[in-house]
Symmetry: C2
Subunit: 463 residues, 2 copies
């Protein structure tokens, strides 16, 4: 069990950065997520290593030149060197385990209310307003894999794409996943161009269409960033899996449903997804999340148990994460008229059928080489409740587009979602901004949040 709840989670800890003490903040001194960013005077090359505290970013790259970051003198010279600015790309592979833990304690002491005034003034020099910084995704991702770990999502989508054959026989034995496109993982805030693509012919044997996606959707997911890899040919057991996890972020797996339905057989989703995947800028570390671990999803009676290589006592007891997840939407018209985004759904990551530890153990079970910086998407997070569904396809039941009997939007008599402007949505329109949010709350602990993952849909370009 690598993640202990310890004094770094003490809710009475306060920071001299005032905004971190706001009970509503995602980023108290108990969080300290990692990010890659550019301070305001260096926009264009977001390659500094930082942490978020309250409404500020602490520039760890710059700070490392003035203050030893390696655990108050206990670190080795090699370790001290690691934290020096030039070696940011070497950092991620070193932050799983003791070094990451020492860094967490060290940053916490530098930012805590009890930090001596002299040190505090050095640290304060490297604090920047987060809204003035430019972010990249937290680590250049080497390979990106997307899973399908919510049984509610899989059942809903399956029943639309394959009526009568929704959940395939492998689903409860294998954390189903597929390789995604690493080159198009983009940072929150990047505009998302509506993709062009092929769609099924109107009638069997007819000519397919080609044009901008008409069924453009988001998918609310969590992303896992690996901090340690394996050796090619050597599996990662479920017992070891947690030792390879650096932390989690929010992930939006943008999806063109019309392309997906036409292309996905027999080799899976491809162009329906490969144009963009957005991630939130912060890696919330496994350490910060320790108090919010929970049991893995309880399999209903009659469901098979996972095979031994995907099962462990620890995973059953604490493999899950209690993270509240929300999707908000603002149309261009709403933004122009100053109307706040509306919430489309609210779910929880603990409802996933498979845990990240199971996904990782499965992924590496064939000896596949996993590397620090690898990104694993959880698949759409949908719960049993209708308002916990993590994509429009499920919320509007495919916008009633594929000829199924129309299903209604939960709590309404409509098959579309009505916006405060009177606009309607079955799928995303140009100008729509999708905002994912995630946070953990537990009695006796400070709220730990993920910030936001944002993206605005821009019109297709017909080349």
């Amino acid at each position: 069990m690598p993640y202990k709840i310890d004094e770094t989670h003490d809710p009475s800890l306060e920071s001299w950065v005032e905004s971190a003490n706001d009970p509503e903040t995602d980023f108290p001194i108990q969080n300290l997520p990692l990010c890659r960013f550019a301070p305001p005077h260096e926009w264009g090359t977001p390659d500094h290593f930082g942490t978020r505290i309250g409404d500020k970013i602490l520039d760890l790259t710059q700070l490392s030149y003035h203050v030893p970051l390696s655990a108050e003198g206990t670190g080795s010279p090699e370790e001290a060197q690691l934290f020096l600015g030039e070696n940011i790309s070497d950092l991620v592979p070193n932050l799983c385990g003791p070094l990451g833990h020492r860094l967490r304690r060290r940053i916490q002491s530098l930012l805590s209310a009890s930090c001596p005034t002299e040190t505090r003034s050095i640290v304060a020099e490297e604090l920047f307003s987060a809204v003035e910084c430019e972010f990249d995704h937290s680590h250049p991702c080497t390979d990106y894999t997307d899973f399908y770990a919510s049984v509610f999502h899989a059942t809903n989508v399956g029943s639309m794409f394959r009526p009568g054959n929704a959940l395939l026989p492998n689903y409860k034995h294998i954390p189903i996943g597929y390789h995604g496109r690493a080159s198009t993982v983009v940072a929150s805030g990047t505009d998302i161009r509506r993709p062009m693509g092929q769609t099924a012919p109107a009638e069997e044997g007819g000519t397919p269409g080609f044009g901008p996606s008409k069924l453009f959707d988001y998918e609310l997911e969590m992303g896992l960033v690996l901090g340690r890899g394996n050796q090619l040919g050597h599996p990662i057991s479920i017992e070891e899996a947690e030792d390879h996890m650096l932390g989690l972020c929010l992930l939006n797996d943008w999806s063109a449903r019309d392309f997906q339905k036409w292309e996905y057989q027999p080799l899976g989703p491809f162009l329906a997804k490969s144009f963009a995947t957005s991630v939130s800028p912060y890696i919330v570390t496994m350490e910060a999340l320790a108090p919010f671990r929970c049991p893995a999803f309880e399999r209903p009676a009659g469901d098979p148990q996972p095979l031994p290589h995907l099962d462990s006592d620890h995973n059953r007891a604490l493999g899950g994460f209690d993270i509240t997840l929300e999707v908000h939407l603002a149309s261009a018209q709403m933004r122009e008229r100053g109307i706040s985004p509306i919430r489309l759904s609210k779910g929880n990551f603990k409802d996933m059928y498979w845990t990240f530890a199971q996904m990782l153990a499965h992924h590496a079970s064939n000896g596949c080489l996993m590397q620090p910086g690898d990104l694993l998407g959880s698949g759409t997070v949908s719960g049993e409740a209708k308002d916990s569904r993590g994509c429009l396809l499920e919320l509007t039941w495919n916008g009633d587009a594929f000829g199924d009997p129309p299903k209604l939007v939960p709590g309404t008599d409509r098959t579309a979602i009505e916006l405060p402007t009177g606009e309607e949505r079955k799928f995303l329109a140009d100008g729509d901004e999708v905002i994912l949010k995630g946070y953990c709350e537990r009695e006796g602990y400070r709220r730990i949040g993920f910030g936001e993952c944002r993206g605005i849909v821009t019109p297709a370009v017909r080349s």
Copy 2:
């Protein structure tokens, strides 16, 4: 039309490197494929940039310190700098187009029989015996995509995996592909560990198995290495596609058929493929291949024409490649007894239903970011003839394992392949070495070859 047949293809050109003048060599002075390697005294870090000539490797990284590689003084200083050893990783993005052409001419002049003796002696200092060099794959691959472009392969596999529903309705409209695992693309010669994995339950509703793959297969493919990318959100038209292609290599898409059949629905192949993909060490450039371009596959009467964004006059006339491809196999017993590998199949890359230009144009049609170094696999190259089938699954008709009526190995009354030792193969055994070969031949031109892509199957490790 970027690739012209010009004087660099003149079959009368000879090299002062004797072995390059052997009519049987894959590597005459008209070829000059690119590779990443370590010379004999620097094993362990194969990061030199080189070219193969006859049975030698010319170390271009070292040579660049002694001889200007940039086109006999016509290049700019920036261009000259590019060829200096430190900048190898910057080279690939610059070798599509005029710079690559000038490099080809320059190397050709340095290696030609008419090269002055003084220069020749400088060049000779940087020539190493190829068998003593260590190779990496030609460029660290950023993203890897695998296609499924042979209609014969797709029909054969489809009829085994989905009896009665072999070729899906999208096949003739879309070059079907899926994202592969970039981290496990390995160089020819790397041992391939038999993977562990899940297999379907013996009876419906039963417990799946977990163990070493029993239906372990190779797939003969060609790989395309990109030399130029695009901008995120901007497609690459079929007219532009050839300008992005650096060259081709051999590719073995090792496949665990038992895992594949159980896992591939609905999101496509994953662990059945992700443990390893071997590539040959040389990128044979598009320029070297110019004389061997041929028309795209002639679609049978009644087949739909490709949509306009996947169709062009140039692609119809010259989108194909006339490349003979062979698979050879040697068991451990054969190697021990000094018996030469036997040929399992012989096909031709011109039989592919989709061209690489179509695959690339399709891939980027949604604005997906393509990058220099990206690898695109063609999918298994199988022709109409039974002995041109590019994998054991097709050659032995699934080793008769899935209960279909037994099909016979072409030209025999057996459902398995007999080796000269009396051993039998339906799928690969531990110790088997698979050797892919490829070469182009045309009256009036020198033979241009790809060398070999090799891999030996080693026993699974039960962790």
